[in-house]
Structures are given as C-alpha cells and as structure tokens.
C-alpha cells in the first residue's frame, strides 16, 4: 500500500526511504542479538 506523497520523505539524514529505515532497524536488531549471544558465550 503506497503512502500519501507528503509522507514519503522520512526526514532522516541518510535514510531517505522507509525501506531503508526498516532495514536499519533490522540491522540494529540483529546487532543486539549478536551482542547478547556474544555475552552469553563470553561468560558461560
């Protein structure tokens, strides 16, 4: 579903489309899971 034109711009530097915003959020999520997995392995 295509959002209205005035809402297309995210207003975020470097993340001009919503697809990129979602991708960035996904990367942050994966990074958190990775860090927590590393913490689990470092202190067994």
């Amino acid at each position: 579903m295509k959002p209205p034109a005035d809402d297309e711009d995210t207003g975020l530097p470097g993340l001009r489309t919503w697809g990129r915003v979602y991708l960035a959020v996904g990367v942050v999520f994966v990074a958190w899971v990775g860090l927590l997995a590393a913490l689990t392995r470092m202190f067994p």
């Binding site: 579903m1 809402d7 207003g11 919503w18 959020v25 996904g26 997995a37 913490l39 689990t40 202190f43």
Partner: protein
C-alpha cells in the same frame, strides 16, 4: 521513607497530573479528546507508546527476574522490532487512510458489525482484566514493603489517574506520559549508578560479569528447540513477534497512542523509536537485577525478600523453623563470601586450577543457600502465608529501601508510581474510547454532537477506572506479576491478531467465516491453556494460526454451501 522522600513523591506525581489537567482544560473536540493534539511530535508518540507498554510491573518486577534467572527474559522482546516494522509498513497506513478512532472500526469496515463487536469485546474483556493487574501489581508490592494500607494505595493511585485521564483525554495522557517516563528513566539510571558505586572497591567490571556468568545469570540467548523452555530465541522471535504484532498493532491502548501523530511520518517514527530501544531498555533493566545479584554476593540478602510476609509467618507459629532456616542461609552465605574472595584472588593471579576449585566450592555454598531459601518458601506456604512463594517482585524495592539514600528512595518510588499511572492512563483512555466508539456511538446513539460523545467518553473512562480499582481491590496473584500480565495477553492476543491478519491479507474471506473461526479458536486456546504446559508465548502463534486457518476453511465451506443452495426463482 522519610519526609524528603514523601515530598519528592507528592510533588512529582501530583504535579505532573495537575499539569496534564491544566494544559488540556476546556477541550471538548471529540477528535482531540480521543486522538490527542494533531501536531504531536514523533518523540512524544514514541515515549507514549513506551510508557503505555512499560508499566510499574516492568520496573518493579523485571530486576527481580534478572536477579533470580538472569538475562534470558530479554528474548521475550526479540519479536518486537520485527512486529513494529510490519505495523509501521502495513497496519498504520490503513488505519490512517480510513481515519478510524479505534482499530475495531476497521474490522467493521472490512467485515461486518458483529466482527467489529467481537474484536472490541475481546479487547474490553482482556484489557479490563489487565487494567486491574496494572494497578494492583505495584500497589501490593509497595504497600507491603512500605507498610501502607493496600486498599488505600490502590484507591489513591487509581483516583489520580482517573482524574487526569477523564479530564484531558488522549492529549493529557500523551503529555503526562512524556514527563512520567522522564522520571522513570532518571530513577532507573540513578539506581544503576548507586549500585555500581556500592560494589566492592577492588571488583572490576570484568570480575562482576564473570561472577554473574558463573551463576548462569548472563545466559541472554538460548538457541535450543525445546518448546518446554519458557524463553528461547525461537519462542521470543516467533511467539514474541505474534504477541507484539497483536499488542502494538491491534490493542487500542497502543493504536490510540500512535494514531495521535500529526502525520503518517510522525506515527511511523514513533514506532521505529520503540523498535530500536525496546530490547536495550529491557536488557538494561534485567542487567540491573543481575548486578543486584552480584551486589548481594558481598552483602547478605534477606532469606526471603518479602520481609513483611516472613515476619507475619514468624509471629504465627513458624518462627522457630524460619529462624533456623535463616541461620542456615547466613552460614551458607558466609561460606560463599569466603569462596568469592578465594576465586577473585585466583582469577587475578591467573591461577586456573585454584580458580576452578574456588568456583566449584562457591557454587556448592550457593546451592546450600538456595536450598535454605526454597525451604523458607515452603515453610511460608505451610504456615498459610498469603504471600506468593515467588519473592522476585520484592528484590528491587528491598535493595532500594536498604541501600539508596533518602531523596533517591523517593525518586524511585515516584518512578514506580509514574510507570503505573502512565500505563494505566493509556489503558483507561483506550477502554473509554472503545466503549464510546464501538458500542455507544455504534449501537446506542448514532447521531449526537461532539460534546455529547466527549461527555460519554469521560463517563466510560471513569467507569473503567472504577472497574479496575474494584478488580485490583479483590485481586490475588499467585505468580510473578509481569508473567501474569503476559500470560493473560497471550491467551487472547493470538485470536485478535488472526482477525486482523485475515482482514489485511486474505481479501476473499468474509465476516461470517472469520467471526465463527475466531470464536472457535478462542475456545481452542482456552482448552490448550488448561491442559498444556508449553511456553505461553506459543498461544499467540496457535490462536492466530487457528483463526486464519479456520476462517479459510469456513469460507470455502460457506462458498460450497452457497453454490449448492437452490436459486431463487
């Protein structure tokens, strides 16, 4: 608590509530009352979504979970970022395009009135019960520890939130939540800093983490496929995603928060703010509990954290047994303390064999202490104590009262009440809106002025406030409080999510099929919950999958029956 603490508590709580009423006074526009100010910034929306979800239970009970079981509970939130992306990309544009007040209005537009009422009814049932828990949970813990009257604590905190939610509606809820979450964050960070400062001088951060890891408190992720385990990566990602999709995407207490944005952009960014910060926030709160555990390796903790319950049982015949167990616990803790010193010395000297030996002796002494704690819980149960056997909810507040300076104690207690009020306000606002829009305006009074509906909404909000206070006054919980809230949600949320997923993605399925499928699926979830012992997060998946599959099957059956039916002449 001393006079300074009470001043901090009264000024902060009543000040924020009074400010919310004053800033929103005289607003009688139905749209503003239900959706808030049209120019609400994305950060306010994000904080409001966060404040509604993170109740007092989150801040009071979660450190206790970290203390008892470590970081594993964080996996429960792994599905949230993924769910929030789906909601921002799919659900939100549809809600905004249709300009609905409640999520259930959309079900009426997509299917039929009965399906709208079913969705709204399930929300009122589930959230009405949950609202009682949100107000009861902090009240039982704080009144027990502070020596306040439970009923007075419930009624006073309940009346404050009813007053400003009724007076200012959604705008007041958004406004007060912004300041309340500020108080909450300030309190939690202050507690963290004091805790770190009070750890022994020679203990490095690596030592503290190694010590916590030695007691399995840093097992944050578990990749095992065992469905009997309550928290794994898979139950968290899959079950947690369904729970978060349903909660953030279809629960009016959340939908109302992000529909208050001035544009789709503001609403989306508010949701993305939560997608980014939800996991770190929960991790931080759990880590606080883990560090409290480390702290209590050097400072003897009470054998049972609900000290008031322990003393009541001791006065009523179990005193000899309880004091003997407390003595055993003290002896075990003293041995544990000595072994920690030996373990730290070996660790700093790089003597691996001595480190391993000290660690084994440490775990053995810890096991004796844990056994004394378990026997204390059994003795309390045997003495007929009404206190729950799980004292995890009392860990953090005990630490605060015993080890934080005055002023900060007041700030932390204010933070718990602020969290209770902020989530309660979001819930009451949503309960009042849903009753007004989906029942009163839809069935009872279709044509009336804005002022009439605002007045009706205020009455319904007050009604739900008093229902929640009444429920809280008579509630008695047996399990850890935060789990009780999540379990209650998981039993209902799956089916509600199924309704919405069919609405969004399966365009050929009609209202009759999805309505009966949802009822049958809810019955199935109740039956499974009564008979199985799987992680409660899976009920979100089961309820949703059953609703979607049964809807599709029923639609096929209805289509076939329609094709066989004799044609009218």
């Amino acid at each position: 608590m001393n006079a300074l603490d009470y001043v901090v508590l009264a000024v902060a709580l009543l000040g924020i509530a009074a400010y919310g009423i004053w800033r929103t006074r005289g607003r009688q526009d139905f749209n503003t009352y239900l959706k808030g100010a049209s120019g609400t910034h994305w950060l306010v929306i994000g904080l409001s979504v966060m404040a509604t979800q993170a109740s007092a239970i989150t801040f009071l009970s979660t450190p206790g979970q970290g203390y008892e079981s470590g970081l594993g509970f964080v996996q429960n939130y792994f599905g949230a970022p993924l769910a929030l992306i789906v909601i921002a990309a799919v659900f939100l544009p549809i809600y905004r395009r249709l300009n609905v007040y409640t999520a259930y209005e959309y079900l009426g537009l997509r299917f039929d009135p009965k399906t709208r009422l079913l969705g709204a009814g399930l929300f009122l049932l589930q959230r009405g019960l949950g609202a009682g828990i949100t107000i009861y949970a902090p009240a039982i813990v704080l009144s027990t520890v502070m020596g306040w009257r439970l009923d007075a604590t419930i009624v006073c905190s309940g009346l404050v939130v009813v007053a400003y939610t009724v007076a200012g509606g959604s705008a007041a809820v958004n406004l007060t939540q912004k300041y309340q979450i500020g108080v909450i964050f300030a309190g939690m960070v202050a507690a963290f800093l004091v805790l770190v400062a009070r750890l022994p001088a020679g203990l490095t951060a690596a030592d503290a983490l190694a010590l916590a890891g030695g007691f399995h408190r840093l097992e944050a992720v578990d990749f095992s496929l065992n469905v009997d385990r309550r928290y794994t990566v898979w139950s968290g990602v899959l079950g947690g995603m369904f729970l978060a999709l349903s909660y953030f995407g279809t629960d009016q207490s959340q939908v109302q928060r992000y529909l208050s944005g001035g544009s789709l952009r503001e609403s989306r960014l508010g949701l993305m703010f939560n997608a980014v910060f939800k996991i770190p926030m929960q991790f931080f709160i759990l880590l606080l509990g883990v560090l409290i555990f480390v702290f209590y390796q050097f400072e003897r903790p009470p054998v049972f954290f609900n000290r008031a319950a322990w003393e009541r049982a001791a006065e009523h015949g179990a005193g000899g047994r309880l004091r003997a167990l407390e003595s055993d616990f003290s002896a075990a803790h003293a041995q544990e303390r000595a072994q920690i010193d030996a373990w730290l010395a070996a660790r700093h000297a790089g003597d691996r064999p001595a480190e391993a030996a000290a660690r084994a002796a440490l775990l053995e002494a810890h096991g004796r202490g844990t056994a004394a704690r378990e026997q204390t819980k059994q003795a309390l149960g045997g003495a007929g104590s009404r206190a729950t056997a799980n004292d995890a909810d009392y860990v953090f507040i005990t630490f605060i009262l015993d080890h934080l300076p005055h002023g900060l104690i007041g700030l932390l207690v204010t933070a718990f009440f602020a969290a209770a009020l902020s989530s309660k306000a979001g819930e009451l606002n949503a309960l009042g809106s849903t009753t007004t829009v989906d029942f009163y305006r839809h069935i009872v009074r279709r044509e009336a002025t804005d002022a009439h509906y605002v007045t009706a909404s205020k009455w319904f909000t007050a009604f739900w406030g008093f229902v929640a206070i009444g429920f809280a006054l008579f509630a008695h919980l047996a399990e850890n409080l935060i789990q009780a809230v999540n379990i209650l949600g998981s039993v209902f949320y799956g089916v509600v999510l199924g309704l919405f997923l069919v609405a969004f993605f399966l365009k050929r399925i009609g209202g009759t099929a999805v309505f009966w499928a949802a009822l049958a699926s809810q019955g199935l979830v109740f039956a499974l919950y009564a008979n199985l012992s799987i992680s409660y997060l899976w009920y979100n998946v089961i309820g949703c999958a059953a609703c979607v599959a049964l809807s599709a099957a029923l639609q096929v059956a209805i289509g076939m029956a329609g094709a066989r039916a004799p044609q009218a002449p």
